[in-house]
């Protein structure tokens, strides 16, 4: 789900950078409003590493293979730290793995980072009616993972289909994009399951980690 260099026009990549700059500024502003903004940096740092590695975990979905995103997990566990964490992870993925690109860094950050923030707000709903049970944590963790990955896939598809260049075979590319979107359906549920399992595990072992989110 990383859009590489040379796929999107300059207007779209520029807009991606503008939107990413604005979202990063807003995220940092929200982080600075916390009592101790540095408190969650160790957690954010370790989850950035997890996000960075996730793109190497391939899930074979014939005839192609897809990889984990983990943006729902980052959103659920990090809150507003998730967006800068994903941005840093994407930067390293682009320059080291060639996943995505530097011109499309802004667009990719929006594709994966914005749903992470949505996942954060979904996960916060577990505190509704002042109850934070294990089942609720698992259910909202699952929902966070599913919704975040689902929105990412939808954004990826929409951005690609609305920016197909005239010189390529439009029908063939459109078919391939739809096939890739369908191939991500199992990944959406895997991401939901991973997010649910991790959040429930953390609630059991170190419930304090979930206090701030």
């Amino acid at each position: 789900m990383h859009i590489p260099d040379g796929i999107l026009p300059l207007s779209v990549t520029g807009s991606g950078y503008a939107a990413t700059t604005l979202t990063t500024w807003y995220s940092i502003r929200k982080i600075r409003q916390k009592e101790d903004p540095r408190q969650d940096i160790p957690k954010a740092s370790l989850l950035t590493a997890a996000f960075f590695i996730a793109s190497w975990i391939h899930i074979p979905v014939p005839p192609t293979s897809v990889h984990l995103v983990l943006n729902g997990l980052l959103g659920a566990l990090l809150g507003y730290y998730a967006f800068p964490a994903i941005l840093i992870g994407l930067f390293f993925q682009a320059i080291m793995f060639g996943h995505g690109g530097l011109t499309t860094l802004g667009v990719n950050a929006m594709i994966m980072g914005l749903p992470a923030l949505i996942a954060h707000h979904i996960f916060r709903l577990r505190k509704w009616r002042n109850s934070d049970g294990q089942k609720k944590t698992g259910a909202f963790g699952f929902l966070s993972g599913v919704v975040a990955t689902g929105i990412s896939v939808a954004m990826f598809v929409i951005i690609l289909l609305t920016n197909l260049p005239a010189e390529i075979n439009i029908v063939s590319e459109r078919t391939a994009v739809y096939a890739l979107a369908i191939a991500h359906i199992p990944v959406i549920f895997i991401e939901g399951t991973i997010t649910a399992l991790v959040t429930v595990f953390i609630r059991k072992v170190r419930p304090g980690i979930l206090d701030g989110v």
Partner: protein, 154 residues
């Protein structure tokens, strides 16, 4: 002494054939040899995902060095992710080949003609390089986490 009696029609036909052979334009030279040839460099690309799965049916656009905006040639990879083309050697320089499939892909820059020599090449890093780089990033992240954890405790 044998006297061959030929009909007059046969004699005329033989003279006509002989004349035709003498005056027919031909490219054959008595001793010299004239051989013409055309040089074509064929370039083959193989496009695969990180996982090794071929990019079957991926769309390919080839850009000449003097026109990086309009594709000189378009096509698609076969089931094994292969695509071959013969660049115009009269246009030396760096030829760009873009491969894309469902929003994924990349660009490879291939030197053709002139002072450059075409050789095997690839984009990306080896698994060892990727492993080392990944280890560095993970160590950096872990180090950051430990540093801020320690600051919080003190």
């Amino acid at each position: 002494m044998f006297i061959i009696k030929l009909k007059w029609q046969s004699i005329i036909a033989a003279i006509a054939i002989t004349m035709a052979c003498l005056f027919m334009p031909m490219e054959v030279h008595a001793h010299g040899v004239n051989i013409n040839y055309t040089s074509n460099v064929e370039i083959e690309i193989i496009a695969t995902y990180d996982s090794g799965i071929p990019m079957a049916g991926a769309q390919v656009a080839v850009y000449a060095p003097d026109d990086p905006t309009t594709p000189w040639l378009t096509g698609s990879c076969d089931e094994e992710g292969r695509f071959s083309f013969a660049p115009d050697t009269a246009r030396p320089g760096i030829w760009d080949v873009q491969v894309r499939l469902a929003g994924h892909g990349g660009i490879i820059h291939i030197p053709v003609g002139g002072d450059t020599t075409t050789a095997d090449g690839q984009v990306g890093f080896s698994h060892l390089q990727i492993g080392i780089m990944s280890a560095c990033v993970i160590w950096g992240s872990t180090g950051t986490a430990l540093y801020f954890s320690k600051r919080r405790k003190t």
